[in-house]
């Protein structure tokens, strides 16, 4: 058993970092929206799903005969990342406009908004399964849709017995770049100050001349963009998607956000990576079919001892 663990520890770590990067990118959207509106945006998982399908459509359209290399690969990657980010970001803004803003205007309770979120999540899943996916792909909307390979699985270097491949590096590097960019926006720009002010005290923010509607829209846009990038990376790495691909992944990302301390950007990052690593390490002992059980057990145990999550502070108190 211990032998197994030692043998598989490094490969699992690499796999855990890849999953963790994707969880973290999606978790950022949950945590930002929560920070600003105190709302769990359950439809965020569908924003991620929309990102995967955007990439699928783009890849299918450019129909590569073989995986790309060199500059062509970078170009195709940038294309799917940028387009998925744009479509998911736009979808998130639209979602807020349709599902949440009218309720906010009327001063609805948070529970009402939560129900609207769950409704929007199911609506988007079914809309894709019944209409959009068949229209985009010509195949039944509830089937797994597989994508062509755009990046070869070449080993770039090895650490012990772990092979670190090109695609692993792409996922991790892209995720890190996006997170640094988001951190900069939130901590160094005027818009970022508006977001933090709204999260910390919305009434005081209005008294400073901050338009809450505007900040909420930008928050959804940023969160959606991150989920779109996550969708592109997911499709590149796993090469398939389905109308409800966001369901379990979204709950895991939400778990990551809570694990790190919801409302805290760096917490979402940490929670994502920790969750990815722990479920992969745990799977060595129990088998990968236990991954989800491991993930949620970790959540329950952490919250028993640290109800505010690992980093504890929320967006109201933390700098980020």
């Amino acid at each position: 058993m211990l032998d197994d663990f030692l043998n598989q520890f490094l490969p699992s770590t690499v796999g855990g970092l890849v999953f963790g990067s994707i969880y973290a990118l999606v978790a950022l959207g949950y945590t930002m929206v929560y920070g600003v509106l105190r709302l769990i945006n359950f439809a965020h998982s569908e924003i991620f799903m929309i990102g995967t399908f955007t990439s699928l459509v783009v890849i299918t359209a450019i129909a590569p005969t073989a995986p790309f290399t060199g500059l062509a690969m970078v170009g195709v990657l940038l294309l799917i990342i940028v387009l998925s980010a744009a479509v998911s970001g736009g979808a998130a803004v639209l979602l807020e406009l349709v599902a949440y803003r009218p309720l906010r205007r009327k001063g609805a309770t948070r529970l009402t908004a939560l129900i609207s979120a769950i409704g929007a999540s199911l609506f988007l899943q079914e809309l894709f399964a019944l209409v959009i996916i068949p229209w985009l792909t010509g195949k039944p909307g509830r089937n797994q849709q597989s994508s062509l390979r755009i990046v070869d699985r070449d080993t770039v270097f090895t650490i012990g017995n772990a092979q670190v491949r090109t695609d692993h590096i792409i996922v991790i590097v892209a995720a890190v770049i996006m997170m640094i960019a988001l951190d900069r926006v939130v901590n160094r720009t005027k818009i970022g100050r508006g977001i933090r002010a709204t999260a910390q005290d919305p009434e005081a923010a209005v008294l400073m001349g901050v338009s809450i509607d505007n900040i909420v829209r930008i928050t959804f846009l940023l969160g959606g963009t991150m989920a779109g990038v996550a969708g592109a990376l997911y499709l590149m790495e796993f090469e398939n998607t389905v109308f409800n691909v966001g369901f379990v992944l979204g709950i895991k990302a939400f778990t990551a956000a809570v694990l790190g301390g919801i409302g805290n950007l760096r917490g979402a990052l940490l929670g994502g990576v920790v969750l990815g690593l722990i479920e992969n390490w745990g799977a060595i002992f129990l088998g990968s079919e236990w991954k989800d059980v491991i993930a949620f057990t970790v959540l329950v145990v952490v919250l028993m001892f640290r109800p505010t999550g690992i980093l504890g502070e929320s967006l109201q108190k933390a700098r980020a």
Binding site: R193, A197, D201, E203, A205, V206, L207, M208, G209, K317
Partner: protein, 234 residues
């Protein structure tokens, strides 16, 4: 007249918080609203700054009806507010809090920032400390300084003395006087009626959502009814 409130009614759900309040603030004045808890003082300020919608009536600023204008736009017109409970951003430093006051401004801030630090030397010493870790008095200074950074024509102050030690209260009131001297009109809400009336050109007494009395501050200080109700009855 800089600011005029005309017969406003404000409701929380079905409960009427303000029942036809009217008041005027002229340029250069310090005007106080005094009254017991729940009289509607804070609601009046929040309605002026656009945090609460009104059911009926009008808020005029420089003669322009701003009753329907969104709160964040009123800041740009020149209505600055230090809110009840101070509303300091806890996760921002003193300096970041002050800069939030200049959120909509595009002009040079150095002179105004220097002026705030000169009015509140305590803040200058603690520029990089987080707002949430400051004492109540220091947070009040941040809230007032931050409102000044919006470059207000009228400064709305909601209970600036709340929860402060007597020494600090005297200091805050003398700073309010100084701010007014430098040309900012002040509308002050206070529980501490004695101090507020001494400072004010005029004052309004509010009871359960209505104005029951209005007069120059010093006259109210001598008014037997006001003394009995709000000044400890001597």
């Amino acid at each position: 007249m800089l600011l005029e409130v005309k017969d406003i009614n404000v409701h929380y759900g079905k409960i009427a918080a303000l029942k036809g309040i009217s008041l005027q603030v002229n340029e250069g004045e310090i005007v106080s609203l005094i009254g017991a808890n729940g009289a509607g003082k804070t609601t009046t300020l929040k309605t002026i700054s656009g945090l609460r919608p009104l059911t009926s009536g009008q808020v005029l600023f420089n003669g322009e009806d701003i009753s329907k204008l969104a709160g964040h736009k009123r800041v740009q017109l020149g209505i600055g507010q230090s809110p009840e409970g101070r509303g300091v951003f806890p996760g921002m430093t003193v300096q970041e809090n002050l800069l939030m006051g200049a959120y909509t401004r595009k002009d040079d801030l150095t002179a105004d920032l220097d002026e705030v630090y000169e009015l509140f030397p305590r803040l200058a010493e603690r520029k990089n400390q987080f707002g949430g870790t400051m004492s109540g008095g220091e947070q009040q200074m941040i809230a007032i300084g931050r409102a000044l950074m919006t470059k207000p024509k009228v400064l709305l102050l909601d209970e600036p003395s709340m929860g402060l030690a007597p020494m600090l209260i005297a200091q805050i009131f003398s700073i309010i006087k100084e701010i007014n001297k430098r040309g900012t009109t002040v509308l002050l809400v206070e529980q501490n009626a004695q101090q507020a009336l001494k400072l004010s050109d005029r004052a309004y007494v509010l009871e359960t959502g209505r104005v029951v009395k209005s007069a120059p501050g010093l006259d109210l200080l001598d008014d037997p009814q006001v003394r009995a109700a709000y000044l400890g009855g001597h």
